[in-house]
Subunit: 560 residues, 2 copies
């Protein structure tokens, strides 16, 4: 198991310094006294309000440091990975932030935390501080457990206590509210793999078809092994367990990432939750987010809190702690109708015999060249250039009677649409771009060479290739260049001599690709030089043949 | 490889619905048209400002949907996992959000994205929309690459364009600023394992001592395999690569979680970054956070942006998009001095012969009982109860001359401190709690039984055990009960007869633990019933012997 750490002994202090260096929460500091004292405190704190301190072993980030900030925690006391902080560190935190209003310690129900925070509270009391402690025991995995574990539901208590402290409530009132809320809080975890403490040997006792339900946050085995299943089924199972244990709603839900579930899968789990019966009783969702993790555990936990007015107000309130993700009030997903104009323009069919003759001839040529082009492509790629061009040619030939052949701009755009929908591959989209841009340009200038040149430049811009990169551009650009000897020549029709010269230039360009032994774009760029030598690029070959075919038709019939 | 999914074909639509159901960004909707059209848009958008649209294949969550919101993206167009969205979906997004001010498409430099977004732009242009496209190619892994990939640096461009659009800048100005920023943006990735597309077979080509540098976000192998090393070394390597490629600073940095690095390790990486030469030129940090992931890749990426006034202002600005983590202006970590009062009170040594005789006798007894108690504990636990009590006894015996033996309150608190620092184990902390609370109570009432009873109740509260749970409480509570026949009896001294009766009660209580075959607290709670039968709890045995020893001393000497 590889981890991004330096040394097992420095995990927590380095992570705390990394947190302090990058957190967006303002006004945080640490108490001096590494490595024993690992305490993050607010420095913008005036002690006139009740201090709220939480903490415990590390490995649960962003808990607890990420929740230190205005209207949430005043300080977080961190132990080593999965180990309670010592009494002296807790006491130091209490003394650093506690004034006359007193202090509330929020502790998850683990013996080490209870005892160390408890002794610190007693010592602080002996020193004259008012300190109270609330223990959160929200795990419902083990039926009739005497000592349910504290899990991510603890965050509800942080939020409620932090909210009350921020608005100036007194310690006794906060303690009562926090304790009552803790008794209305229910959590369960589900994981596909266990977690590994950095430096330890991974102990993945779950097989490829197993998951586990009812786990803690310290890598201990879950309450029950279950069969691995679809996200919806796993979520449903966890929700049923929760619903059995919980009081009636309405609820707030925390959907917590236990460590390494990718964001896309957490979103699928969130969607799975919306399909459960429990979702109907849930009015507020928090997450999916990393809130109370268990190192690299590939799992999630659900925590429910029974809502009342106070708790709802507390959860809604803004905080200054960077890791609190905010709440979402549950409602329907909004679906907006697809814009009507996203449909393509429809064109009126029109006739132009020369244009139709050119299109027909090019299509026939491409269909008959299919095998040859495929063969060329098989030398440098996946052997489908012929099929791709052939498919486009067949579709266009079939659509010929419906095309606006008398309107160059509309025709070019219509060809673009057909190519984008039917040709496939990058070359289909590239040529669709060319004809779409050319159509727009043609409408302005009624100049085919200029329009095609404009289209080709757009194609280069989006495709990223240039002449010399061993693509169809090596035939296309020399051909188009020859059609526009003086840069731009406004002409609705192309004379036969120009077209013949253009065809020769395109052919020379295509042939030159056989000499290019490095391809910088397209699929051939992944092929070794020795395999490219002597093979004409199939895209360039197709373009050269198109130019040649057009030249033959124009020589026979005169310009369109 | 286990994933939280339902079916490979539904990954993206389900994740989008899960996102929409839980995001805290307000006013989002999706366009109708699943599964082909997967577009998230702002509904609170009036089209008088330039629309900013991004997108690409999925599997990079929270990119791009998490960045849709006020002052960032207007819409996100999502493809299937690692596959570009189709032209029609992009066009639908453009039409849904674009008004007279026009639209900017921000695209990562992958052929599929360039072509599909490019063709959509051309089609939108042909329909009369002003649409421009900026391609981000921030990957610096491959020297002299013709087509550098687009990585997490793309987020800088989202933020800058979104900021300018929100303040009403015109399209041309935004395009220029976005393009210039994109050319001043540099990224590199480093991973410990490859990613797995759900449903595919994992292809982890990296050995346990290998990592890779210069990777994309689609699971393709990195530019170079490197040796797995400490976090500081890996970070330093990535930073050197970046520094070589980048223009001079000052920089903003994105520290991006590529998928499954646990939060604690990302914090260690953040700390590692602060030690590099590059950190000195970095004035703004964004992250660590999940920003542009690659499914479940266990790696991170770094992205640098050269800052100027506009870019700094843009990065600082607030946004309505839930996944933008905000920025951190780099500065020193603040370290606050440990509060002085956290040191324990020092006590003035004082003499009381009876008290000293009691303490000396109890310590001698516990030292001599060490093996017996260890033996009892070996039957139900790890066999160290005797050692634990013995260690405490030796420390107290050694400290006897320095103890405030004439002041019951101070003495009790001093014993608490010694026990918490030297005894070890849960029982050390538990007894420290007892003596700390007892000391405080004694100062009020000068009543040993009452003080100890109060301390014992505190111990029960923090420890969570009760009488009958097979712990030292089973000897302690009956013993203390017998000392306070009428609830509370203010008495500075304990008469010999009471003490003798208390010792008998404690002994009976200790013996009763041998009959308890279920332990509800402490380590014995993990032991099967048949192994508990007939074994006296070693903690209860120690307490009973303490009562007996005290009774003998008092009978000999009279009350203290």
């Amino acid at each position: 198991m590889k981890h991004f750490i330096n040394a097992k002994n420095n995990i927590v202090t380095e992570a705390l310094d990394g947190f302090l260096a990058t957190t967006t929460t303002t006004g945080l500091a640490r108490l001096d006294g590494y490595p024993h004292t690992k305490v993050i405190i607010r420095t913008d704190w005036d002690k006139s309000r009740v201090a709220v301190i939480a903490g415990g072993g590390s490995g649960h980030e962003p808990a607890h440091t990420g929740f230190v900030g205005e209207a949430m925690l005043t300080a977080a006391v961190c132990g080593e990975v999965f180990a309670s902080p010592g009494v002296d560190a807790v006491l130091a935190a209490i003394i650093a932030v506690t004034g006359e209003a007193g202090c509330l310690l929020i502790v998850k129900n683990y013996t080490g935390d209870r005892l160390n925070f408890g002794l610190a509270a007693e010592r602080a009391n002996a020193l004259g501080y008012r300190v109270e402690m609330v223990v959160v025991a929200d795990d419902i995995a083990i039926p009739d457990a005497d000592y349910p574990r504290g899990l991510a539901g603890t965050l509800f208590i942080h939020k409620i206590a932090g909210f009350m402290a921020a608005r100036g409530d007194e310690l006794d009132r906060i303690v009562t509210a926090a304790r009552t809320a803790a008794s209305r809080c229910y959590s369960i975890g589900l994981s596909l793999d266990s977690c590994t403490v950095p430096g330890n040997i991974p102990d993945d006792y779950l097989g490829p078809n197993e998951a586990e339900l009812g786990l803690g946050i310290h890598g201990e085995p879950g309450f029950s092994k279950i069969a691995f299943a679809k996200a919806d089924e796993l979520m449903s199972l966890a929700c049923e367990k929760l619903a059995q244990a919980a009081a009636p709603g309405p609820f707030a839900l925390i959907l917590n990432n236990l460590g390494t579930v990718p964001p896309v899968e957490m979103a699928i789990l969130a969607n799975a939750f919306t399909k459960t019966a429990l979702a109907k009783k849930t009015t507020i969702i928090i997450g999916p987010a990393h809130l109370m993790t268990s190192l690299n555990m590939n799992g999630f936990s659900l925590s429910l809190l029974v809502l009342d007015d106070l708790r709802t107000a507390a959860l809604r309130a803004d905080v200054g702690a960077s890791s609190w993700p905010g709440i979402r009030v549950c409602d329907q997903i909004r679906v907006v109708e697809l814009p009507k104009t996203a449909q393509d323009k429809s064109y009126r069919p029109s006739r132009n015999e020369t244009v139709e003759a050119i299109i027909r001839a090019v299509c026939e040529m491409l269909i008959s060249a299919e095998d040859e082009l495929n063969f060329l492509d098989s030398r440098i790629g996946d052997g489908d250039t012929g099929t791709t061009f052939g498919r486009a040619a067949r579709t266009i030939a079939d659509a010929l009677n419906d095309l606006p052949c008398a309107d160059g701009g509309d025709l070019s755009m219509a060809l673009s649409t057909i190519l984008s929908r039917n040709m496939g591959g990058s070359s289909g989209v590239l040529l669709a771009i060319l004809f779409m841009a050319a159509g727009k340009a043609y409408k302005k200038n009624n100049d085919w060479p200029l329009a095609l040149f404009h289209g080709a430049r757009r194609m280069m811009q989006y495709g990223g290739a240039d002449v010399g990169d061993r693509t169809m551009l090596d035939a296309l650009m020399p051909g188009l260049d020859r059609l526009m000897p003086n840069g731009s020549m406004a002409s609705e029709s192309i004379p036969g001599e120009s077209m013949a010269a253009a065809a020769l230039a395109a052919r020379a360009g295509a042939n030159s690709t056989a000499l290019m032994t490095t391809a910088c774009a397209g699929r051939a760029s992944y092929v070794q030089a020795e395999n490219l030598a002597g093979v004409t690029d199939p895209g360039a070959e197709a373009i050269a043949r198109i130019f040649e075919t057009v030249a033959v038709v124009i020589r026979k019939r005169g310009p369109a």
